[in-house]
C-alpha cells in the first residue's frame, strides 16, 4: 500500500483545467520531486492534495483512507502537512511560539509541546533566532520557520512547496542539509521545486507536470533524458539536439 496516493485528480477553474487526471503516489521513506514549467499546475495540485481545495474528480488517499473533503487540520492530525510557497510565519509570534503551535498538534500539554518545539528548532538550525518575531526574519529564516512549523506537527508525510525559492546559493546548500536531516528522521517528503540542483540531489523519484498533466515519472536520471520533459521545458527544437545545455 502506498503511503499516499492521488488517483485521476482533476481540478478545474471555470473553463481552465489546471490539473487533469493526475495519478501520483508516494511510498514510505521516499522523497518525491514534483517539477514542471511555470503554470504547470504544481501549486494547484498541491492545494488539492493537501485539502485546501476540493478536487472536481478523482480521489486522494493517505494511509489507505480517502481524505477528500477533510479539513487541512484533520489531515494534519492524521500525519500529513504542507508548507506554503508564500511563507506564512505567524508575524507577531516568536520563532519558538511559531513552532510551538505546530508542536501542539500531538501534544496537548504546553511543557511537552515546548520540548518538541526545541528539538525541531535545533534540527532545523533556528536555535540562535528562537526569540525573534516572525516578521523580523529574513527570507531564509522564514523558510526555515515554515519548515519547522510543519515538522513540529510530527508528520509522516510533508509536502514542501518551493522551500528554496528566494534563497541564495549558500542558503540553498544549508537548506538541503536540513532536508537531509529531516529525511534521516524518517519523514517522507514531496517537494515542489524550481531549483534543479535541489530536485536532482534529493529526489528518489520525480513527477513532471505540464499543462496540468503528469507527462513523465521516474528517477532523476531518466527524467533529464526524457524527450517529453525537454520539450516541455525547452520547446521542440531542442529535443533534436540532446547534447544541448539543460535548463537550470
Amino acid at each position: 500500500m502506498s503511503l499516499f496516493e492521488a488517483r485521476k485528480v482533476t481540478k478545474r477553474f471555470g473553463g481552465l483545467t489546471a490539473v487533469n487526471a493526475v495519478d501520483f503516489n508516494v511510498q514510505q521513506g521516499e522523497i518525491v520531486g514534483l517539477i514542471g514549467p511555470n503554470g504547470a499546475g504544481k501549486t494547484t495540485f498541491f492545494n488539492v492534495i493537501s485539502g485546501f481545495m476540493k478536487p472536481d474528480e478523482g480521489d486522494v488517499r493517505f494511509l489507505g483512507d480517502s481524505i477528500v473533503g477533510h479539513k487541512p487540520s484533520d489531515i494534519c492530525k492524521r500525519g500529513m502537512t504542507r508548507t506554503f510557497q508564500i511563507v506564512k510565519p505567524f508575524p507577531e509570534m516568536t520563532v519558538t511560539d511559531n513552532i510551538l503551535v505546530g508542536a501542539f498538534n500531538h501534544h496537548r500539554d504546553a511543557a511537552t509541546a515546548n520540548k518538541k518545539a526545541r528539538e525541531v528548532m535545533e534540527l532545523v538550525g533556528l536555535g540562535a533566532q528562537a526569540e525573534k518575531l516572525g516578521r523580523e526574519l529574513t527570507v531564509a529564516g522564514r523558510k526555515r520557520v515554515e519548515l519547522a512549523k510543519a515538522l513540529a506537527t510530527e508528520p509522516k508525510l510533508m509536502l514542501l512547496d518551493e522551500v528554496m525559492a528566494g534563497l541564495t546559493p549558500s542558503e540553498v546548500t544549508g537548506m538541503i542539509e536540513v532536508l537531509g536531516r529531516v529525511r534521516e528522521a524518517g519523514v517522507t517528503m514531496v517537494i515542489v521545486e524550481h531549483v534543479m540542483q535541489v530536485i536532482m540531489n534529493l529526489s528518489d523519484r520525480i513527477y513532471v507536470l505540464h499543462h496540468g498533466e503528469a507527462i513523465a515519472e521516474g528517477s532523476p536520471k531518466s527524467i533529464t533524458s526524457d524527450p517529453r520533459v525537454m520539450e516541455a521545458y525547452l520547446g521542440e527544437s531542442f529535443v533534436a539536439e540532446p547534447g544541448g545545455e539543460h535548463a537550470s
Binding site: K71, D74, F84, A110
Partner: protein, 373 residues
C-alpha cells in the same frame, strides 16, 4: 510558573483596591475628592471600572486573542441581563444561579452565531457585520417583546428584606467586591487561556488562518469555542449589571455605544494581552468620569442654538461648547475624548498601551545593561 516578584505592581494595586472601601468615608478621601462627590460615588466609579474591565476581558477572548472583531457584544450582555432577571422574577431563581443560566444561554447563542458565520467562512469585516446585525436584531426583539417589558424594560422588584440570595444589597461595598472578584476571575481565566494550547491556537488564527489550519489548528472549532466563552462571560456581566442598577432596558444596554465601549478598553489597553483590557478599561472610565466631574453642570440647561446665537467672545463660546458636550450632550465630551484617545493609541502605540509600556521597559532594561558593562 507565575512568579509573584514579576507582578509586584499589580499586587500593590490589588491590595489598594481591596482596602479602598474602608477609607471612602475618611477625611482624607473627602478632602481630595471634588466637591459634592461622596465616597459612594467614588465606589461607583470603581465598580464601573471593574465591570468594564470584566466586559473588555470577555471581548478580549474573541476580539483580542482570536482576532474576530465583534461589534455586537452588547447583545450577549443584554441577553445575559434579561435571562437571569426573568429567571429571578418568574421562577424565583436566585440571580447567583441565574447568572450561570445566563452564561450558558449566551454561550449557546454565541456558539450558534459562530457556527453560522464560520461555517460559511465569513472572515474579517463580514463577521463583524454579522455581529452588528445580531445585536440590532436582539435590541429590536427586546424592544417589542411585551413579556420582557418591551421598551419599558424591567424594573427589578426591590425588597427591604432582600438577602444575599437575591443579589441585592443596600450599600455599594458588596457590589464593589463582587465586581472586583469577577474581574479577577476573568483575568485568571484569560491568563490560563493565554498559556494553554487553546490560547496559542487563537493567536495563530488571528495572525494567519490558513497557516494555522495547515499545522493542525481546527480553526472553525476554536473560533466557535472562543465566541462561546466570550459570550458566556458577557452574559455573567449582564447579570451583574442588572442586579447593580436594578433596571434593565434595551435602549440603554443593547446599543452600538455599549458594544464599542466594551471593545474600546481592550483595543486601547492591548488586545490579546492578559492585562491590556484591564488597563484600557481603567483609563477609559477614568477619562470618562473625570470629564463628567470637571464639566458637570456647566452645560445643563443651555440649548445649542442659544449658545450659537449668544453674544459672547470666542473663548467663552468654546468653553460653552465643551460644557454643552459634557453636560447637555449626555456625556458627549467623554465620547469625543475616547475617540481622540483611540486615534492617539492606534497611531502612537500600535498594539495598545500595555504592549507599548512593555516594549519601553524592555528597551530601558537593555540600555541599562549596556550601561553596566
Amino acid at each position: 510558573m507565575i512568579r509573584l516578584r514579576d507582578h509586584w505592581f499589580y499586587l500593590v494595586v490589588l491590595a489598594g483596591l481591596i482596602v479602598l472601601p474602608l477609607f471612602t468615608d475618611s477625611d482624607f478621601v473627602t478632602a481630595v475628592m471634588p466637591s459634592g462627590l461622596s465616597g459612594s460615588a467614588l465606589l461607583h466609579v470603581f465598580i464601573l471600572m471593574f465591570f468594564f474591565a470584566f466586559m473588555s476581558q470577555s471581548w478580549n477572548i474573541i476580539g483580542g486573542f482570536a482576532g474576530q472583531l465583534s461589534i455586537g457584544h452588547a447583545a450577549f450582555f443584554g441577553i445575559g441581563a434579561y435571562t437571569s432577571t426573568i429567571c429571578y422574577i418568574h421562577l424565583g431563581l436566585s440571580p447567583w444561579l441565574g447568572m450561570f443560566v445566563a452564561a450558558g444561554f449566551t454561550a449557546m447563542i454565541g456558539a450558534g452565531l459562530g457556527l453560522i458565520s464560520f461555517h460559511y467562512g465569513l472572515r474579517g469585516p463580514f463577521f463583524t457585520l454579522v455581529t452588528v446585525a445580531f445585536a440590532e436584531i436582539t435590541r429590536l426583539i427586546l424592544l417589542h417583546w411585551n413579556f420582557v417589558g418591551a421598551a419599558n424594560g424591567i424594573l427589578l422588584p426591590y425588597s427591604r428584606d432582600a438577602g444575599f440570595w437575591d443579589f441585592q444589597f443596600n450599600g455599594k461595598e458588596p457590589y464593589y467586591y463582587i465586581a472586583l472578584v469577577m474581574m479577577l476571575c476573568s483575568i485568571a481565566l484569560v491568563a490560563w487561556v493565554a498559556r494553554s494550547r487553546f490560547g496559542y491556537y487563537l493567536h495563530a488564527i488571528r495572525q494567519d488562518e490558513d497557516a494555522a489550519e495547515a499545522v493542525g489548528v481546527p480553526t472553525k472549532r476554536c473560533k466557535i469555542q472562543a465566541i462561546a466563552l466570550s459570550a458566556a462571560l458577557a452574559g455573567l456581566g449582564g447579570t451583574f449589571y442588572a442586579q447593580y442598577t436594578q433596571y434593565i432596558v434595551p435602549d440603554d444596554m443593547v446599543v452600538g455605544r455599549v458594544s464599542v465601549e466594551i471593545l474600546l478598553g481592550t483595543v486601547i489597553g492591548g488586545a490579546g494581552t492578559i492585562m491590556g483590557p484591564i488597563v484600557g478599561a481603567f483609563i477609559l472610565i477614568s477619562v470618562g468620569e473625570a470629564t463628567r466631574v470637571i464639566f458637570e453642570g456647566g452645560g445643563t440647561g443651555i440649548s445649542l442654538t442659544t449658545l450659537i446665537q449668544s453674544d459672547v467672545g470666542l473663548a467663552e463660546k468654546f468653553s460653552g461648547y465643551l460644557a454643552y458636550l459634557a453636560g447637555g450632550g449626555g456625556g458627549g465630551l467623554a465620547v469625543l475624548l475616547y475617540g481622540v484617545l483611540l486615534i492617539a493609541v492606534v497611531l502612537g502605540m500600535p498594539g495598545g498601551v500595555l504592549p507599548w509600556l512593555t516594549r519601553k521597559r524592555k528597551s530601558f532594561a537593555k540600555s541599562d545593561k549596556k550601561g553596566d558593562s
